[in-house]
Symmetry: C2
Subunit: 316 residues, 2 copies
């Protein structure tokens, strides 16, 4: 089972010092670190759910936009969001950090951000790896468990489609940074401090959700992924999508990525009021799965619109 970690019995060396510094910041949120691998019990009868996600400087963030604490928090939250998309309960994370010499002093701030993300998810750090390198990056492996993981392929024609939360914040932040226009605090916060919808996903799965995906490449692109995986078409009314204040309309919101909100399918109506009471964010019906013949159709009210573009990640 899990063993309490500190003090980590590691010999001397710069990389071990970096690991020790991080583990000291994590305290009892670091579990069983220091052997060749982490050892974890998966609850009997449940499946293991595992995913990996990389967050790379100049690609997923810029050092002048986010501080080290935000970089750590955001990378781990993005990875945990994949567990939410499967309605899995986290078991813990492994973090592979590539740390340039020039950023050695930021190791504790990175650790604090990683620690905040695992605390928010009610989970722990099980292990990892620190290497010197040119560009700062965090590759986070998330481990979770679920009796019946929610997949992308469970939609049937006729299922209603819902989204959690408000849209457009990260896209608006990125647009402001790129154009040099004044950045709204709300938009920056949505970019820097996303939330993995872990508890929301389990609530929805318990109430009959049929499929789920988390939004990384933008609402429109990830709806399309879900449609392809489930072999269905879709009819989506973007006018229904809740917007973060100051976002320039539903087309911009549907092109905004790294939202880490969820799209879910449901065969019978969801208790949207109960969801909002439980989590303080909306659950909104935005359309339906259809027969595959029509493809994915986007509307704004009665008017058909072109598919919003995919999210323009930093350097893509």
């Amino acid at each position: 089972m899990t063993r309490p970690s500190p003090p980590v019995a590691l010999a001397s060396g710069a990389e071990f010092d970096a690991i020790r510094a991080m583990v000291a910041r994590w305290g009892n949120r670091a579990v069983g670190i220091g052997d060749d691998a982490a050892v974890v019990q998966v609850p009997r009868g449940d499946a293991l759910v595992a995913s990996v996600d990389s967050s790379i400087e100049q690609r997923h963030f810029r050092g002048d936009w986010l501080n080290a604490r935000e970089i750590g928090y955001r990378a781990v939250t993005a990875a945990l969001s994949d567990l939410a998309a499967m309605a899995a309960q986290p078991l813990g994370i492994l973090v592979a950090l590539v740390l340039p010499e020039s950023r050695r002093a930021e190791i504790e701030a990175l650790a604090d951000g990683i620690g905040e993300a695992v605390t928010a998810a009610g989970t722990v750090v099980l292990g990892g790896n620190v290497t010197a390198g040119e560009a700062l990056s965090l590759t986070t492996t998330v481990l979770g468990h679920a009796f019946a993981p929610l997949t992308r392929s469970g939609l049937q024609a006729g299922d209603a489609l819902y989204v959690t939360g408000h849209f457009g914040g990260p896209g608006a932040a990125l647009a402001s940074w790129k154009s040099g226009h004044r950045l709204s605090d709300v938009h920056r916060e949505r970019f820097a401090r996303p939330v993995a919808r872990l508890r929301e996903a389990r609530w929805l799965a318990d109430r009959g959700a049929t499929a789920a995906i988390d939004i990384s490449d933008g609402l429109a692109s990830d709806l399309e992924q879900l449609a392809v995986a489930s072999a269905v078409g879709m009819d989506i009314d973007l006018a229904a999508v809740p917007l973060v204040e100051g976002v320039n309309g539903p087309i911009a919101a549907a092109a905004s990525g790294e939202e880490y909100e969820l799209i879910i399918g449901a065969r019978s109506p969801m208790d949207t009021a109960g969801f909002e009471r439980a989590f303080g964010i909306p659950l909104t019906a935005i359309g339906r799965a259809m027969s595959p013949d029509g493809g994915v159709i986007f509307r704004q009210g009665a008017e058909r619109v072109a598919k919003p573009r995919g999210y323009d990640h930093l350097s893509r």
Copy 2:
């Protein structure tokens, strides 16, 4: 449970194309790829064993030393070696690949090397992630299971210490590359094509091994890690260490890293002849765990020698 993968139902896009190209090379060695996370069953009663390892260009290898296939094979084998060090049976791997634009054409060769490594280990690719970036890197998460994982902390004073295989090849290859001297094919092969001692580890665990570590930072350094983790001293006779042909003596061999051989402890003598018959490599007694007071003592026959230096990874 595991689902056969291809065709992967992913929408269009350069990163998805890269994933599809890799999955096509892996065939039935890719399992369940394409959802937000992999879903795997851990055998009932066993613990999950998980580790992550990064292999970064200019840090762990150079592109002019290894071809793409070797880079893929070596990165995944190094990661799988951590499962061997726990005597765990692999469940599968996740690969996070950072691929510079300039190396896009090498994706299939990388996939082939990754595929060879999972085939050698009798396991599969469960998922991953492809990102553009400046430096080629592979961060491999390995998932395995074991009823009683072999840790670093199980040694007691009096336990005999054994090593698998022959030593010094990777260190000799690195020295030749750095000095520009002629590189022995045998040394290059040991650098480029290490073997994760997965079956060997389970054989040893079944016969009462008390602790294990795999050799990444050099025999001497990793003996010290094992001693620290188990809170014991050691008395090591380096003259007993089997050498790869052409290696310049046991001190050089004990400083050679990325060997991926195992050090194990045993309370009663191991059947070294049976091991060699089963696996075609030696299992060699090199010393004993002692009371912690004396620290780790290295000898060459009767003569005491200084602790061999740690492995000089590429850019450390």
